[in-house]
Amino acid sequence: MIIKQLSVFLENKAGRLNEVASLLGHADINMSAFSVADTTEFGILRMIVSDPEKAGEILKEAGFAVRLTDVICLHSPNVPGALSKALNVLAAESVFIEYLYAFSMDKDSANIVLKPEDIQKCIQVLKDHQIELLSASDLYEF
């Protein structure tokens, strides 16, 4: 259920994001999803990649501050109200979310990467309500 997200610290300077993309591209690592959180001083690149361990090593060697973070990924139908349904369940059980971002691989479904404050509790709550979670193998295969 738990998925490894690769987080990378990015200084606000030109070409830094491209360097990451290019390093991973040359290593034949695919990025399925990513989001950039930015402040005035720095950014954090969060991504789901085909081989998080290897990607992390490559970036570390190139001098980046990286971290593998545990996240979960909801799989939901691509219809109005689907996100709300999942969030209602989490809110009702007081599961706090640090951040989330979404990506889609096909027309009919959407995937939501989610970093909850308490990951075990979050998984349990979602399971109890029959909300589908992707496993690592689902994602890394893409």
């Binding site: 987080s7 610290f9 980046f64 990286v66 640090e98 951040y99």
Partner: protein
Amino acid sequence: MIWNEKIECGDRNELRAIQTERLRETVQRIYHNVPCYRKKMQKAGLVPDDIRSLEDLTKLPFTVKQDLRDNYPFGMFTVPMSEIVRIHASSGTTGKPTVVGYTRKDLNNWAEMVSRALCMGGVHRNDIVQVAYGYGLFTGGLGLHYGCENLGASVIPISGGNTQKQLQLMQDFGTTVLACTPSYSLYLAEAMKEMGIKKEELKLRVGIFGAEPWTENMRHEIEEKLGIKAIDIYGLSEIMGPGVSCECEYQCGMHINEDHFLPEIIDPETLQPVAPGEVGELVFTTVTKEGIPLIRYRTRDLTRLIYDKCKCGRTLVRMEKCKGRSDDMLIIRGVNVFPSQVESVLLGMSETEPHYLLIVEREGTLDTLNVMVEVQEQFFSDEIKKLETLRKKITANLESTLGISVNVKLVEPKTIERSAGKAKRVIDNRKL
């Protein structure tokens, strides 16, 4: 007007006689009252009677900021604390401040010298002087304050900051003289523009500016924007505070109060005197101070001395505007900042490593200090709020140590040059 014509315009031979007598007396006093000096002199094989003329001055060992630190807080004082009536302090290189003490006579002499300085700048007893230097441990505020009172001018002891109020009082009280750091005067000029106050509406005519380095270009800008004559005043708390030297109306170098301080210019590498008129490090020996006399104190300021007679009639030697420093001290908004202070803060925090880069910028008129700090692998987080919390913690720690606001930037690991010998820790973009 010349405050003390007898001394300021006196004959050099007479001055030398006064200096010689005072130097001999000072050397006796420090030898018998300050263990640190006695040891230094004994090490150099000197007894007080070896110092008989001004030429003998160069036999004496130098004094450096570290000596003050080693004898923190009062170890270099020559008199018992019962004789000390005021204490000032400035930031030291690694956290502990440099402490100085003044006797009643020291304060009187200081006021006299600031009165001389004010007169050099054309200030007189009818003036209303707004002292916008900080009041407190810093010598700027109180130093100017008592010099103005001694002169008989009306002092507005407003201290630093509070820009709106500064401008309001300038308008309402008809301030004629502004005393502050040159960069703050430009900041005030900018605020005037924003508030729609024209320089013609103010009665300002003179500015007494010091406590930080400034250029001739900056002088022109200040004079143009405020419609005043901008006078450079020099001083350092170790020697006394503002008023060690000051420009006259001809603005061609600062007249040193030589009856109190003996200036020398040395090569900071060889420590030998430079040829007359050459640039080098300014060294002072105080010859009237009672609280904490300093012998051949290395100021680290680079300048040269001009012995030609000045158009104003004063015969006191002039020092040029300082051209830089022979150490890595930065002066930012009038506050002394040593890179080593930043290092000690970062070393004291478990989350950071002592790799940093200081970038000083002049944004508009105010200097800003940016501190680049590396994010260490183990403290990197995928959450913005954790990194922001870390950034705020570093900022707060630096600000409380340095005494000025800083802008901390977190940067990627290993992007700051490692010290292989002499690392570049400071980039000063102010072009001073």
